[in-house]
């Protein structure tokens, strides 16, 4: 199957329109972040506490919010966690003052008051760790093992505790005692002791995270630094490998991609966290790729012929690489699509950035990068033309065109080109 085999579209003809449209889109993206919705900044950067819980009988998000507000956690953010798991919720609270300690105890305490009221035993089989359950069984000693050998008894009850956790690992939240009878090493005596000394709570804690103000501020700083530094590094790389005019085009395209994607990200309300930064950095790398392929072609064409106007050269190069651009975008897009729909909740934001970024990046590499490279070139050329008459007079009639268009390493590249030409 072939696409755009002899493509010959005039992408650069309307470059000013594209420039305006792209600038507007970027500003719109920025505006969404700044004025409209703001970013849904997660605890990685804002600091705070986040608990993910799975419920046996899931409440609605509204019920959960109301109950938590009554328990004194009115500022908590509550979100359904994952589309396939309507019984999972994420509860997030902001930093309390400048304290390093998190609020996970408060959240879990409130959940216990609401969903496990009146439980006397300290051991909840849906929350306790293996060590705790093992110690409790050892204390109860339902199998009468302690008399024979204390160490062996401790090990044996530890094994049973692991079995109970194995059940929890598979089902997420243990529903009833019935489910536990299938646990490894379970006997009626043990089950009896469990019923006496512990209870099966109505929810399980799947994960809990606390980021204090110190670490939050550090991660924020490093995140911004990483994105800015990597964009600068791209500019420098392209500058060294190609020329400044390409670098400018590529970095403008890049900024456009990041801003538009960021705007959409904010609009959809995904949580902005460490993984999101990872996604944006990957997007930066990918987006430059697209521009680089076009510029590689331009450079090759430049070697072949110096007489073709720069505009045509650029436009031809975009056309010649168009099939590659579309095919690569499609393959990355397909991979990202799989991640977006099947990769689970943790990767949702990441996949969204990449999926949207691929589309935006493809548009920008075709319409934005080359357009801006050409506009930059024209601007430089006009300035040179204005200065040139004076320079020409000073140089006593040397022809203006003698000055090479490339100002860096031109000789070296010409030599390389000559070497390749058979």
């Amino acid at each position: 199957m072939r696409f755009f085999q002899n493509a010959n579209y005039d992408f650069l003809k309307y470059r000013k329109h594209w420039a305006v449209v792209s600038t507007l889109l970027s500003l719109l993206g920025l505006a969404v972040v700044v004025f409209h919705k703001g970013l849904n900044v997660g605890i990685d950067f804002a600091g705070g506490t986040q608990v993910v819980a799975q419920f046996r009988q899931p409440p609605t998000a509204d019920d959960l919010r109301k109950s938590l507000a009554q328990a004194g956690l009115g500022d908590a953010t509550i979100q359904g966690y994952g589309t396939e798991n309507p019984d999972q919720f994420m509860i997030r609270t902001r930093l309390q003052g400048n304290k390093e300690e998190g609020q996970e105890q408060e959240i879990i305490g409130a959940l216990d008051r609401i969903y496990n009221p009146g439980q006397q035993s300290p051991v909840d089989l849906n929350k306790a760790g293996a060590e705790g359950i093992g110690a409790m069984l050892f204390e109860a000693d339902p199998l009468q093992l302690k008399a024979a050998d204390i160490t062996a008894a401790r090990d044996a009850y530890g094994e049973i505790a692991q079995g109970i956790l194995g059940v929890r690992r598979n089902v997420g939240v243990i529903r009833d005692w019935q489910q536990l009878s299938s646990a490894k090493g379970m006997t009626p005596e043990v089950l009896q002791a469990l019923k006496q000394r512990s209870y099966v709570g109505s929810y399980a804690v799947l994960s809990r995270e606390v980021v204090g103000p110190t670490v939050g501020a550090e991660l924020r700083q490093r995140g911004i630094l990483a994105v800015v530094m990597s964009m600068l590094a791209m500019l420098v790389y392209i500058w060294i490998r190609f020329e400044l005019r390409f670098g400018v085009g590529a970095v403008i395209a890049l900024t456009h991609d990041v801003l538009v994607t960021l705007g959409l990200y904010a609009l959809f309300g995904f949580e902005f966290n460490l993984t999101t930064i990872a996604a944006f950095l990957t997007l930066v790398g990918y987006s430059v790729n697209d521009s680089v392929v076009v510029f590689d072609r331009v450079r090759e064409m430049l070697r072949k012929s110096r007489r073709v106007p720069f505009e045509k050269l650029l436009n031809d190069s975009v056309n010649m690489t168009l099939s590659r651009t579309i095919l690569t975008a499609s393959s990355v897009f397909l991979a990202c699509l799989a991640l977006l729909f099947l990769g689970g909740e943790v990767l949702r934001g990441f996949s969204f950035v990449m999926t949207v970024g691929v589309i935006v990046g493809t548009y920008s590499s075709v319409f934005v990068a080359a357009s801006f490279a050409l506009m930059w070139e024209n601007m430089v050329q006009r300035r040179r033309d204005r200065q040139a008459p004076a320079a020409a007079r000073a140089a006593e009639g040397k022809p203006r065109d003698a000055k090479p268009r490339e100002d860096k390493g031109a000789g070296e590249r010409k030599a390389a080109a000559a070497g390749r030409r058979r």
């Binding site: 110690a135 399980a204 804690v205 799947l206 204090g212 095919l327 990355v332 991979a335 990769g343």
Partner: protein, 524 residues
């Protein structure tokens, strides 16, 4: 078959085998991140200012004693005033100034005195401050390490974060009881045995009343919990008046372990070192009939009556649960922390969430791979198969590389693999499009393939470099899961250079050499 073809084939075979060996069996060879296998990640900060403060108080106290003893009878004790964790001031009588300065220079050279009138300010020298801070962090690290070893976690990671910092990173795979771990790690476990002079009583006022409202300087008021007889839960607070100095502390313990009391209740049994035992013997024989407060981190755990002289061993009973007894033995055995510890960051992933993540990641990976493979075959027909072979080897190298470098596979890392599959075919696409162009220009398949690979090479290098730069920044910036993503991406990119350029080229050459006459190739 020509020679170069053979050698290249052998090289590819060797790489394939090496990677397969490195990675097989995957369950043992691939190290899963905490986000996939579940576990606890903690960033702790040692409050070095605690250690500095206690050093400051010790020095101020000793300075005061020195001044008193050198000043002859009638010399009043110096009053010192703490200014910061590393400085304090004393006000000295007019005549004693020089003498105290002399004592200070002789005995406390690490402290820089600064005299203004009758007030002398002492400041800990920076070099010494750094040494003390470093010592405190290293001691804390050692203690935490011991406690975790006693806890019995497989493959824990305990290390200082950065150089000379006050942070310690703890990673405990497979542990999902963060409250208990934090309790265990953060308990300073400063154990003291003190003689009870009054109490217990339900309120502090009640006790103070018998001392006319103020305690003599050698006594101190401490709190303890009242526990429910049956459940062991704390149901209230009670107060004790105890002696301020503790002649026997946790440092005098040789060993501590959980045991069972006479009513089968959980207790901690401990033994003293030889020297500690002697002092404990003196203490107990002098105070028979009084209460002995067992004080942990400035709270009274229990206060049994001293029945007789005890020398070498004892028990702590305090209506503990089995879990508490085990943890208390551990912290007593591993010693006290030199300073308090606070949590800066805590991430716990339960095992069920990790398992879900693996399932989701693998599912997305398989579907993503199938989609990319389908696209390549539809677009490039048989040459697509060539690209797929290269892609398969690429994925094998990623996992082999992860195993070989001992790198950790995280959930974003799985996303990195999926993404690399999408991006790795980019190199193939660049080359194949170029071959098509050459074919269109009327060249023979053989020349087209040679030219296609040669001409696309610069672009392939450039595209890989830019993504690699992004991955490097990501590695530099990221922690944990994100770093795992960066590593996967970097291995994937390097692998893709090899597979898309070298392996794929070899496959084309192999095909050409197997066919007698090459009039066309299947490239869609």
């Amino acid at each position: 078959m020509n020679k170069s073809l053979l050698w290249r084939g052998i090289l590819i075979l060797v790489v394939t085998i090496l990677m397969a060996v490195a990675f097989w069996p995957p369950k043992e060879k691939i190290k899963l991140g905490l986000d996939l296998r579940g576990g606890i990640h903690l960033v702790l900060r040692v409050k070095v200012e605690d250690a500095l403060r206690s050093e400051r108080d010790k020095v101020a106290e000793r300075l005061s004693q020195e001044a008193q003893s050198s000043g002859g009878p009638g010399q009043p004790a110096l009053q010192s005033q703490p200014l910061s964790p590393t400085s304090f001031a004393v006000t000295v009588p007019a005549g004693a100034r020089q003498k105290i300065l002399d004592v200070a220079t002789a005995e406390f050279a690490e402290w820089q005195p600064d005299a203004q009138g009758n007030r002398i300010t002492f400041r800990l020298k920076e070099e010494e401050r750094r040494r003390l801070a470093d010592l405190a962090v290293n001691q804390a690290l050692q203690t935490i390490d011991n406690r975790i070893n006693a806890f019995g976690v497989a493959e824990p990671l305990i290390q200082r974060q950065g150089l000379g910092g006050d942070r310690i990173v703890v990673q405990l795979p497979g542990v999902d009881d963060p409250e208990r771990v934090k309790r265990l790690l953060k308990s300073t476990a400063f154990l003291e045995f003190r003689i009870v002079e009054g109490g217990p009583a339900a309120s502090s006022a009640e006790l103070l009343a018998s001392y006319n409202g103020t305690l003599p300087p050698n006594l101190e008021l401490l709190e303890g919990s009242v526990k429910d007889e049956v459940s062991g839960k704390a149901i209230g607070t009670q107060f004790y008046v105890v002696q301020k100095t503790a002649r026997v502390t946790g440092r005098d313990l040789k060993n501590a372990r959980p045991g069972l009391g006479q009513f089968n209740d959980p207790i901690v049994e401990f033994t003293f070192t030889h020297e500690g035992g002697q002092r404990f013997g003196e203490l107990t024989s002098a105070n028979v009939g009084k209460g002995l407060a067992i004080v942990l981190d400035h709270r009274v755990v229990s206060a049994p009556r001293i029945e007789t002289r005890i020398t070498d061993q004892g028990i702590i009973r305090g209506q503990f649960t089995q879990e508490e007894v085990e943890d208390l033995s551990t912290v007593l055995r591993t010693g006290a922390l030199p300073a308090g510890i606070e949590t800066l960051e805590e991430r716990t992933v339960g095992p069920s969430l990790g398992q879900d993540s693996i399932r989701d990641g693998v599912r997305a990976g398989v579907v993503g791979a199938v989609l990319v493979v389908l696209m390549m075959v539809v677009v490039y027909h048989l040459s697509g198969i060539n690209a797929i072979a290269a892609l398969a080897l690429n994925v094998l190298i990623i996992f082999g590389g992860l195993a070989y470098f001992g790198a950790t596979l995280t959930l974003p890392g799985i996303a990195g693999v999926v993404l690399t599959m999408g991006m790795a075919v980019d190199a193939n696409v660049l080359i194949f499009e170029r071959i098509r162009e050459e074919l269109r220009a009327g060249r023979t398949p053989r020349t087209s393939i040679e030219e296609g690979f040669k001409r696309a090479f610069a672009s392939v290098i450039d595209t890989h470099m830019t993504t690699l730069i992004a991955a490097l920044f990501l590695f530099q910036f990221g922690t944990g899961p994100v770093r795992g993503f960066a590593v996967t991406l970097m291995i994937g990119l390097s692998a893709s250079l090899f597979t898309a350029v070298f392996v794929s080229h070899w496959l084309f050459d192999l095909e050409l050499s197997l066919r007698k006459r090459v009039e066309s190739i299947s490239i869609g």
